[in-house]
């Protein structure tokens, strides 16, 4: 009933933990029954390790939070050797998020991930707003999006999901470029650019001045993007941005999402993803919904 297929991956339910908010699945092991999740996306991995930005990197804002972590991770080799071996037997789908500052970095990272048996898919992060080079630069430009996606497609044959940035003039043209480049699915959206200022010290609250806004405060923006992207492409859309309960999930599905990701709310309530999955199942049973596809894009136009 709750099963949903995206590319070559079949998720047991459509609730996935979003990149950067679930670590590598190990951190929440003691608090969350991971097998109750549809899946999770790892924190973004880059070819070489990165130390990330300086402190302060995060601050809570009204109904959400700003972060500027800057892709801190220990690199793809470390991931494959040290982390993947610890998580590969999780009873849930694991998608590996990759990021980079050049096309070569993306493709080399994807190629190495592609060689690991058991990793079924990647999410290409071309929308990180917190790095000086690469990241969102790719996701803001039609040609660069198509270029990087196409290059990865050539070296990576398994499921490739591309994560889009909302910080663009027209998200549909980027979505079409990613689809044209060979993406199997799209995730919308990454964080929204924002900032906060401490009026006492008169300094910005993030070391990078601006950062990525997430949480319930961005839900309407995310929903709009999902709806626009859904209408622009033929591949599945994974909706993410401010989801905190099953009602939000239904809303995203009606707008066109085939599955959803939960981000910031993992921090507020670690069990939120599994809670949503069981609530959603109850809703499906009560409403006699037999398949997720009955809801996808089923929004009625007056």
């Amino acid at each position: 009933m709750m099963r949903v297929k995206i590319g070559g991956i079949e998720f047991k339910n459509p609730v996935i933990a979003a990149s950067g908010t679930f670590g590598y699945g190990l951190e929440y092991k003691e608090l969350v029954d991971i097998e109750g999740l549809g899946g999770f996306v790892t924190k973004s991995i880059t070819l070489k390790g990165r130390e990330g930005n300086g402190y302060p990197r995060g601050v809570e804002t009204e109904g959400g939070m700003l972060n500027a972590v800057g892709l801190q991770n220990e690199g793809v080799e470390h991931f494959i050797k040290e982390i993947w071996t610890k998580i590969k037997d999780c009873e849930t789908e694991i998608i590996v998020s990759i990021a980079g500052s050049s096309v070569e970095e993306y493709t080399e990272c994807a190629r190495q991930i592609g060689e690991v048996k058991g990793i079924k898919g990647i999410e290409v992060n071309i929308s990180c707003p917190n790095v000086k080079e690469g990241g969102m630069q790719f996701g803001r430009d039609v040609k660069m999006t198509e270029g990087v996606v196409k290059a990865i497609r050539e070296v990576y044959k398994k499921t490739m999901i591309v994560k889009l940035s909302p910080n663009v003039t027209d998200i549909t043209e980027i979505a079409r470029a990613a689809e044209g480049g060979g993406a199997d699915a799209l995730t919308a959206i990454n964080t929204v650019l924002g900032m906060a200022v401490d009026i006492r010290s008169q300094k910005p609250k993030l070391s990078t001045v601006t950062g990525g806004l997430s949480g319930p405060c961005i839900k309407p923006i995310a929903l709009r993007c999902v709806w626009e992207v859904y209408n622009a492409v033929k591949i599945p859309v994974i909706g993410v941005g401010g989801i905190k309960d099953w009602q939000d999930v239904v809303e995203f599905m009606l707008a066109g999402a085939s599955a959803v990701q939960v981000g910031m709310y993992n921090f507020a309530m670690p069990t939120v993803t599994t809670d949503i999955a069981s609530d959603l199942e109850m809703y499906f049973t009560q409403k006699r919904i037999e398949s997720v596809s009955e809801l996808i894009g089923a929004m009625k136009m007056f």
Binding site: T21, Y28, L31, E51, G54, Y55, E62, F267, A268
Partner: protein, 271 residues
Amino acid sequence: MEEKVFTVLDIDYVDKIGLNTIILKDVDGNLPKIAAGQFMMVGMRENNVKLLLRPYTIAEVDYKQSTVTILVEIRGAGSRRLVEECQRIMCLKESQRYVRDLPNTIRGILPLGRGWTIKDIEKGERILIVSGGAGRASVGYLREELEKKGIETYILMGMKGITKEGKKIKEEDRIYITTEDGSLGFKGRVTDHPMLEGKFDRVYACGPRGMLRALTEKIGRRAPLMEVSLDNIMLCGVGVCLCCAEKLTDGRNVRVCKEGPVFNVKELGWI
């Protein structure tokens, strides 16, 4: 670490030093083992203003009663809401009128982080515990754990000042206080206190960064071991978001919530 449900056993909200003492009772009655210096993330059942849980040092533990005590300084909307919510739960309990459908519990994830290094202390070592402001939350449980091992401690607590209601805090044997306004104990900053001229084998400190830095200059470099507890802004508290990162002298960014909050001052570049 585990997520638990707490009811509010007591809230002392007239501690005019600015700290609200909140005693939380574990509903299940089986607190996990908590080490001195560890912290917990505390949150409300429902909260639409600020959504995230907040980190608080576990200031006291009572395994028999299954209670933990936190000291909450109101710094913004989140901590204010938490104190208000605890007051509301207490009032309901006192009037014995639970309102149905309203959540009457507090959520907590504990124990978190790495606490003070105290295992290898030998009898006869001279131990100094220093706090500044809300860092006072770190003093009580650490002292208790050390005294259990038969180790004497010297305590130095600095605060802005106290008023009549703050009388519960007083100077005793081996407990020294500084206030900036001179309302209790030594007038001045904690780092100005003459007892810092003494010799100590270990120094444990918790307070604002400026204080920790000054203290390290004053005494930390002489002491064989000095540890400090940091209060970097945390969003998740369990090592996932990487927002509380602290840069160590070896260049690595580590998570204060996981690899800390207690660090040896030698690991910290800024000290």
